[in-house]
Every structure is written in structure tokens, then in C-alpha cells.
């Protein structure tokens, strides 16, 4: 029998009641290998105003390029203390911040490796379906050959690539622009 997926609805303005118990802005524990990185950014709406009531979720591989999930059958090590999941609410100024490690490369659709990236989902009042996007890392030569970035119009790819945070070694900046000039690229899953 074939069923139809339940329709999506917005998280609304009061999601903190239900979702903050699991918030996690530190994805990595002591002793986990990999390059530490702090990700900072803001969520901005179509009026250029920061969104004070958004929440991001992050999913990523570990530094070896292995996902903590049974479907990842690669012969690469898992590490205790790293699940790869984050849930990060923005603050009243629309800003978010989380700390993690730069993931390794994982296989892409054509057998080629994907550049290191974070999968990001975004929930807020006004979004009837959550948004799906990715963050890539600055100055990584592998971005040029990434099979997913290649599907994005060239003039919009930079919206998915973080920049080095000024005067803060180990930190990157990546903003989510919901509309207008420099609108962040959002994905639909499935070709």
C-alpha cells in the first residue's frame, strides 16, 4: 500500500516551548579529532531585518567523512562524542553561533567526492515548509568540483560558501538571506 506523506506546517512563533530542550550549539566534545570551527551568522528577511525567531538544524559527517548512521557503510572510523547533529536557535538580533569540526569529504552522486559541507535546515514562523540548504567552507579548493555546487547557478554559489570571520581565527561567517539580492540558495531534494 502506498500512503501520502503528511503535509508540512509552520513551527509558528512559539516553537521554543517544544524544541529548545534539545538545543545543541556545541556539536563536538573534547578528544574528537578534526579542525575546530566556529560558525557565526544571521538570518535576514525580505525587508533586510534580522529574524528573531528562527531555528537551524545541522547535520554533518565527522572529520573522516563518516556519518553516524547505519546507511553510511564506508570503511571509515566513527568517533564517540560526535554525532554530527546541532539545533541552534537565533537570538533576538537574528544571530546564531555554533561550534563544530570541519567534516571530511563524503561520496557524491557520481562517485566523486563532495567538498566538506554542513547540511542545514531552517525553521521559522512564516515558513510552511522548512528550508534546506548547505554551508561550504572558505578557501577550500575542493569546492570548485563539488557536484552539488555545480548544480547551482554560478552567480549564486557564493551564498553557500562561508567567509573567514575578520579578526577571529578558527571562525567563519555565513548568513542566511531569505529574499532579494544575495538570496541564499535553497534546495528541493530529488532531481
Amino acid at each position: 500500500m502506498s500512503l501520502c506523506a503528511t503535509t508540512s506546517q509552520t513551527v509558528g512563533p512559539f516553537f521554543k516551548i517544544g524544541l529548545l530542550w534539545l538545543s545543541r550549539n556545541r556539536l563536538v566534545e573534547e578528544g574528537v579529532t578534526g579542525e575546530r570551527v566556529t560558525v557565526r551568522g544571521r538570518v535576514i528577511d525580505g525587508d533586510g531585518v534580522p529574524v528573531p525567531d528562527a531555528i537551524l538544524e545541522v547535520w554533518q559527517a565527522n572529520s573522516h567523512g563518516k556519518y553516524a548512521h547505519p546507511e553510511d557503510t564506508q570503511d571509515k572510523p566513527l568517533e564517540g562524542g560526535f554525532q554530527g547533529y546541532g539545533r541552534i536557535p537565533v537570538n533576538a538580533e537574528g544571530a546564531f553561533c555554533f561550534s563544530t569540526i570541519k567534516p571530511g569529504t563524503v561520496p557524491g552522486p557520481d562517485g566523486k567526492e563532495q567538498a566538506p559541507h554542513l547540511a542545514i535546515t531552517l525553521f521559522m514562523r512564516g515558513l510552511l515548509r522548512h528550508l534546506w540548504t548547505r554551508m561550504y567552507f572558505p578557501n577550500d579548493s575542493r569546492n570548485a568540483a563539488d557536484p552539488i555546487l555545480k548544480l547551482v547557478p554560478a552567480d549564486r554559489r557564493s551564498t553557500l560558501v562561508a567567509t573567514n570571520a575578520p579578526n577571529e581565527p578558527g571562525a567563519v561567517e555565513w548568513n542566511v538571506i531569505l529574499q532579494g539580492k544575495n538570496e541564499t540558495v535553497f534546495f528541493e531534494l530529488g532531481l
Binding site: 501520502c4 512559539f14 516551548i17 554525532q83 557520481d110 512564516g126 531534494l189
Partner: protein, 235 residues
């Protein structure tokens, strides 16, 4: 790596568009550029898993999280989480949140002139069992006014958040109650074009889970995206 099976595309009209102008908040927040279609890779078909140690008995009984019982009508909300291939989804985290019986959320931004209930937080979690079942005891939430348009009122609803087996199956939705006279006027409920899909957000009164002398039962099954039958071959 073996070729990955992707997920089936949504049936036409069964999911809302991002922009739904009668829901005013979508106007400045919905993307204006077309979404970029991407294939399923290991990133999308994996996702976080959460074990039963994350939740407790108290987490799924919202009427027993404080010293005394909350005000309002006790209800049982239960159902199964399945995928589109009718397979039950065990070990799936189900999170709910809601207003109290008077239609007020315990949130600093909710300024509705209705009383807070010191014995009701309005937040619960459960992990589905081996048959994909979840079960909550709570209070029937009240309807409440909002500023979307003149004399706008939200129908009674409970927010649901689910993960499922991968990041691709992530779902946030709302459960409504049968016979609610506000449903035809609610732009959020009506954002889904397909009437049958929309109506599946309305729970069903259920004798089987109704607790004698204690609480009415409502059943709400949730369907998450299902895998394509065959793995995609490399072209």
C-alpha cells in the same frame, strides 16, 4: 558505496508552497528564487538518531509535569508513524508543543489576554516503539486570536516535530481536532491545495484509546517520506 535509494517526490498539491500570501508571515520569509533540485547523496539519506534514554515517562504525559494537574479537558493523543510504503518507523523522536486550555502559550512573546496555567508547560517528547506507535496524555489546547487578519483565530492545534530515519524525512506539522469551526478560516491549515492531504491533519476521535472516566482519545497517524523502490543507478 552501493547506489543510494532516494525518496519519492511529493504528490502534487499535498505540500504547501513556501509563499502563501493569505498567511502574511510568509510574504517576507518565503524564498523568491526557484529552489535548486539536488540528488540524494549520503548527506541527505543519513540523519541523527535518538534513543529512548532521551525521554522519560513524564515527557509524554503533559498533565503530570507539575505539582498539581493542569486545568482543562484531559485528552489522549496517539498514533503511528509510518513511511509512504506503509512501514512503521520505530525509534523516531516525536516532539510536541501547544497552548494551554485557555489558548495561551508559556512563551514570553505570547501576549494574549488569557491566563497562564502554573501546572502546564505544554511541551512533550516520545520515541516511537517497535510498531511506530507514540502516545501522549495532555490537555485539549484552546483556540486563540492572532494578528494575521481582522478577527483571526487559530483553530485548536498541537505542533508536532519528527525526524524519521534520515535528514530527508524531517517533518514539522500541526494536528487539528475534528469538527473545529475555525478550520475553514485558517490560512495555515488551508495552505495545502489538496483537500484530502489537508484533512489528514485533523485527528480522529478514537474509542479504543479513550480512557474510561478519564480522557477522550484522538488518533493522529503521521506519514513520513518513503524511499524509492529501487536504488538509483549511476548513469
Amino acid at each position: 558505496m552501493k547506489p543510494l535509494a532516494g525518496y519519492r517526490a511529493h504528490y502534487s498539491g499535498t505540500q504547501p508552497n513556501h509563499l502563501h500570501p493569505t498567511y502574511v508571515s510568509s510574504i517576507k520569509r518565503a524564498p523568491t528564487q526557484p529552489l535548486v533540485h539536488i540528488p540524494y547523496t549520503l548527506t541527505e539519506v543519513t540523519g541523527p538518531s535518538f534513543g529512548p534514554e532521551l525521554t522519560s515517562r513524564a515527557a509524554c504525559d503533559l498533565t503530570r509535569q507539575h505539582k498539581a494537574e493542569p486545568l482543562g479537558e484531559r485528552i489522549v493523543v496517539s498514533g503511528r508513524v509510518l513511511d509512504e510504503n506503509s512501514r512503521p518507523l520505530p525509534n523516531t523522536l516525536v516532539e510536541i508543543w501547544q497552548a494551554n486550555a485557555a489558548g495561551r502559550y508559556r512563551h514570553e512573546w505570547d501576549q494574549h489576554d488569557a491566563p497562564l496555567d502554573p501546572n502546564f508547560t505544554g511541551c512533550g517528547q516520545a520515541i516511537t516503539d517497535s510498531e511506530g506507535r507514540y502516545h501522549f496524555v495532555t490537555i485539549r489546547p484552546g483556540e486563540y486570536p492572532w494578528r494575521n487578519h481582522y478577527n483571526a483565530w487559530r483553530p485548536a492545534h498541537i505542533h508536532f516535530s519528527l525526524f524519521g530515519p534520515s535528514f530527508a524525512t524531517r517533518l514539522v506539522t500541526q494536528m487539528f481536532f475534528p469538527g473545529d469551526p475555525l478550520l475553514p478560516y485558517d490560512p495555515i491549515f488551508n495552505c495545502t491545495a489538496d483537500e484530502k492531504a489537508r484533512n489528514r491533519l485533523i485527528s480522529v476521535f478514537d474509542w479504543e484509546t479513550t480512557m474510561p472516566m478519564h480522557a477522550l482519545g484522538y488518533k493522529f497517524d503521521i506519514i513520513l517520506r518513503g524511499r524509492d523502490a529501487t536504488p538509483m543507478e549511476d548513469e
